[in-house]
C-alpha cells in the first residue's frame, strides 16, 4: 500500500471517478487553473480538460444550484466549497432544493451531487470561516453527511459519495490535508454509514468524527500510558447515515461513553449520539455519558485561544477521567 496524504487521497478519489464515469464533473471556485485553493484538485484540469474540471465565479448559490439542476439530468457534479462556511450563502439550494426534491416529487427525481470542502475551525481565520455545519445539514432528511478523519477513509468515502445517487456532503479538514496514511492503490469504497473502530479498548468508549478522532486517539495514548486506562475509539466517519450498531456494541462492551466533536455543544452531532446510547444501551452504562465539544462561542481569532476553544487531548483526558471516576 502506498503512503499518501489526506489531500492526495481525496484527489486520487476524484481522478479515479473522473476516469470511471464521463458524467462526473469537478466544479468550484479556483478548482481548475489555480489548482485548488487548498490544492486538493491540483493537476485535474491538465489531465481532464476544462469540460470536466470547471472554475466557477464566486457565486455559491448560483453554481451549487446549477450543479443540483445538472444532477437531476444525470450529471454527477463534485462541487468544491472553498470552505463549508460558504455553504450558508447557498443554503436554500443545499437544503431546500437538493434535500427536498426527491421527496416533493414522490421519488421521481434524485440528485446525485457531491458537495465537498473543508469544514473545520483551528486555522486562525475567525468566526466566519470556521463553521462545522455537519450537524445542521445532517438534521435534514434527504441529505447525507460524511466526515473522513484519515487518508484511507477520505478516499473511500469520497468514491462512495460520488457513486451514491443522493446528495452527499463531504466535510474535510484543512488541518488534516497533510496527514499521511496507507491507502490501497486498487479500487475500493468505504460505504456511507459504517463506523470504524480506530483503537480497541475495554474501559471506555470515545465516539468522535473528523479531526476529533485524531485528538481522541492522542488522548487514548495518554490515558493508557499515564492512567492505565484502555480506551476504544469509534470513528463515526459518516454522520448521516449513522452506524448505531458499532456505537452501541462498543458501549455495551466498555459500559462508559465519552463523546468528542469539534462542533459547538448545542444540538451537536453528539446530542443525537447521546440520545441513541441512553435509549438503547441505558442498562449497559455504568456512568453518565461525557461530552467534549468546542467552547460555546463564535470561533475566536486568537490562535492560542482557538486551540483552547477546540477539543484538545488534555481536555479529552480530563473528561475521560470524570466518566471513569
Amino acid at each position: 500500500m502506498a503512503v499518501i496524504t489526506y489531500r492526495e487521497a481525496l484527489r486520487a478519489a476524484m481522478r479515479e471517478e473522473l476516469q470511471r464515469d464521463e458524467n462526473v464533473v469537478v466544479m468550484g471556485e479556483e478548482v481548475a487553473q489555480f489548482n485548488g485553493a487548498y490544492k486538493v484538485t491540483e493537476g485535474l484540469l491538465k489531465e481532464f480538460g476544462p469540460k470536466r474540471v470547471v472554475d466557477t465565479p464566486i457565486s455559491e448559490a448560483g453554481f451549487i444550484g446549477l450543479g443540483i439542476g445538472a444532477s437531476m439530468l444525470g450529471i454527477r457534479p463534485v462541487m468544491e466549497l472553498m470552505f463549508w462556511s460558504f455553504s450558508y450563502v447557498a443554503f436554500d439550494q443545499i437544503v431546500n432544493n437538493a434535500g427536498n426534491i426527491r421527496y416533493m416529487s414522490g421519488g421521481l427525481i434524485n440528485c446525485p451531487i457531491v458537495i465537498r470542502g473543508p469544514g473545520n475551525g483551528g486555522t486562525n481565520v475567525g468566526a466566519t470561516h470556521s463553521h462545522t455545519p455537519e450537524a445542521i445539514l445532517a438534521s435534514h432528511p434527504g441529505i447525507k453527511v460524511v466526515c473522513p478523519a484519515t487518508p484511507y477513509d477520505a478516499k473511500g468515502l469520497m468514491k462512495a459519495a460520488i457513486r451514491d445517487n443522493d446528495p452527499v456532503y463531504v466535510m474535510e479538514n484543512t488541518i488534516l490535508y497533510n496527514d499521511k496514511g496507507e491507502v490501497p492503490e486498487e479500487d475500493y469504497i468505504v460505504p456511507l454509514g459504517v463506523a470504524d473502530v480506530k483503537r480497541v479498548g475495554t474501559d471506555l468508549t470515545i465516539v468522535a468524527h473528523g479531526r476529533a478522532v485524531i485528538t481522541s486517539l492522542k488522548a487514548a495514548e495518554i490515558l493508557e500510558k499515564e492512567h492505565g486506562v484502555s480506551v476504544e475509539v469509534v470513528d463515526l466517519r459518516s454522520i448521516r447515515p449513522l452506524d448505531e450498531e458499532t456505537i452501541l456494541a462498543s458501549v455495551r462492551k466498555t459500559h462508559r461513553a465519552l463523546l468528542v466533536e469539534e462542533n459547538k455543544p448545542f444540538c451537536g452531532v453528539d446530542a443525537q449520539v447521546a440520545y441513541i446510547i441512553q435509549a438503547k444501551a441505558f442498562d449497559d452504562l455504568d456512568a453518565p455519558i461525557g461530552r467534549v465539544s468546542s467552547i460555546d462561542a463564535p470561533q475566536i481569532y486568537c490562535k492560542r485561544m482557538e486551540d483552547e476553544q477546540l477539543p484538545h487531548a488534555a481536555r479529552v483526558v480530563a473528561a475521560a477521567l470524570k466518566v471513569l471516576a
Binding site: 444550484g65 439542476g69 437531476m72 444525470g74 436554500d92 426534491i101 416529487s105 414522490g106
Partner: protein, 368 residues
C-alpha cells in the same frame, strides 16, 4: 439586441383593434387548424381546471397555498407549445398551467392538491411542487427565484451532453430581485448556456406592486443587458406573440447556445394565493379591465373564430369537455386514498428506496 418599446400595465388595457400582428409569423402560420384547436383546448383546460380548484378549495379539500394561473394561460401555453424532445422547463409555485401544458393529467394534478397518494407527487409536494420529469418538467418550486440556478443547471446538462435543447426557467416579477436569479443570469451568460429566463410579469409580487418593489420598474428584462444577454418584452395576452417572440429565443438557444431573458406581460385575476383576500393593493376596475379587454383565452378564441378555425359550436364543446374533465378530476381526487403513515418515510433517499448488494449506504438514515 432587441429594444422594443416598454409596455406598462395601464397602457396595455386597450382591447386589440384587429387580429394579432403575429398571426402570420412563420411559427404561427405553420400551425395546422388542428394544432390551433389543440392549443386553444389546452388554454381552456388550464382555465377550467383552475376554476374547478377554487371550488375544491372552498369546499375545504385543498390545504396550504393555492396560487392560480387564471389570466396567465397564454404564457405557459405559448412558450411550451414550441418545445421539443431536449427542451426542459422549471418554474416557481404558480405551476399548474405548466403542468397541464406538458401533458400532466387533471386527475394527478387535482389529487396532488388534495394531498392524495394518486397525486403527481403522491401527496408529498402539493400545489407548489408539481413534477413530471418524464415530460421534462422539473417543478414546481416554492422559494421565489430558487429555481433559476436549477434551470441553469438543466441547460448546462443539455449542453454537456451535446444535445440540441434548452431550458426555460419561469419566474414571477417578484423574483427578479432575488440574488439567486442574478447569479443564474451571470452563469448562463458566462458559460453560453441554452437558457431562457421567462419573467411572467403579472404586475404584483404578492401584494406589492412593481413600482414599490423594483428599482427601474419600467422594464425588468433590460437587466439582461448588465450580463450581455439578449432580451425581449412580450404581450402575454396574445398567445401568437408569445410564440413568435419565444421562438426567437429558443432558436438562439438551439443554434447559438446563448441565453435570453423574456419579460412577458400578463395578469392574474385572483389573489396571489387563495389566502390573499385581494382587497388592499389593486383596484377592482383594473381586474375588470383585464378580464374584459385582455383575456388571453377569449382573445385567442376570437382570433380562431375570425380565422374560421373555431365555430361557436366547437368552442362550446371544447369548454364543456374541459369543465367535465375538471369535474371528473375533482371526483377522482375526492375518492383517492391518502398516503399512509409508512409512506411518510419513503422517497427521501434514492439509496434507501433501492437498497441492494451494491448500495453505497448502510446504517441508520431515518431516525426515531
Amino acid at each position: 439586441m432587441a429594444k422594443p418599446a416598454v409596455l406598462t400595465h395601464p397602457e396595455s388595457l386597450k382591447k386589440p383593434a384587429g387580429p394579432s400582428e403575429f398571426a402570420k409569423h412563420p411559427v404561427n402560420a405553420a400551425l395546422s387548424k388542428a394544432e390551433k384547436v389543440a392549443l386553444y383546448t389546452k388554454m381552456a383546460r388550464i382555465r377550467h381546471f383552475e376554476q374547478r380548484c377554487i371550488r375544491t378549495y372552498q369546499q375545504g379539500k385543498i390545504g396550504g397555498f393555492l396560487h392560480l394561473y387564471v389570466g396567465q394561460e397564454a404564457v405557459a401555453a405559448g412558450t411550451i407549445s414550441l418545445l421539443g424532445k431536449h427542451d426542459h422547463i422549471i418554474t416557481g409555485y404558480r405551476d399548474h398551467g405548466h403542468g397541464l401544458m406538458v401533458g400532466m393529467s387533471m386527475n394527478e394534478c387535482m389529487a396532488e392538491l388534495t394531498g392524495k397518494v394518486t397525486g403527481c407527487s403522491q401527496g408529498k409536494g402539493g400545489s407548489m411542487h408539481y413534477f413530471a420529469p418524464d415530460k421534462n418538467y422539473w417543478g414546481g418550486h416554492g422559494i421565489v427565484g430558487g429555481q433559476a440556478p436549477l434551470g441553469t443547471g438543466l441547460a448546462y446538462a443539455v449542453k454537456y451532453k451535446g444535445l440540441k435543447g434548452c431550458c426555460l426557467a419561469y419566474m414571477g416579477d417578484g423574483a427578479v430581485n432575488q440574488g439567486a436569479v442574478h447569479e443564474a443570469y451571470n452563469l448562463a451568460a458566462l458559460w453560453d448556456l441554452p437558457m431562457i429566463f421567462v419573467i411572467e410579469n403579472n404586475g404584483y409580487s404578492m401584494g406589492t406592486s412593481q413600482e414599490r418593489s423594483t428599482a427601474h420598474p419600467g422594464c425588468l428584462a433590460k437587466r439582461a443587458e448588465g450580463y450581455g444577454m439578449a432580451w425581449d418584452v412580450i404581450n402575454g395576452h396574445d398567445v401568437y406573440e408569445v410564440r413568435a417572440k419565444t421562438d426567437a429565443a429558443v432558436k438562439r438557444a438551439h443554434e447559438e447556445s446563448k441565453p435570453t431573458v423574456l419579460e412577458i406581460f400578463t395578469y392574474r385575476y385572483f389573489g396571489h394565493s387563495m389566502a390573499d383576500p385581494d382587497k388592499t393593493y389593486r383596484d377592482k376596475e383594473e381586474i375588470k379591465g383585464y378580464r374584459e379587454n385582455k383575456d388571453p383565452v377569449l382573445l385567442f378564441e376570437n382570433e380562431l373564430l375570425d380565422e374560421g378555425v373555431l365555430t361557436p359550436a366547437t368552442r362550446d364543446a371544447i369548454n364543456e369537455a374541459a369543465m367535465a374533465e375538471a369535474d371528473v378530476a375533482a371526483v377522482f381526487a375526492e375518492e383517492s386514498p391518502d398516503p399512509t403513515v409508512a409512506d411518510i418515510t419513503k422517497h427521501i433517499y434514492w439509496e434507501e428506496d433501492n437498497r441492494g448488494p451494491n448500495s453505497t449506504s448502510r446504517g441508520t438514515i431515518i431516525f426515531e
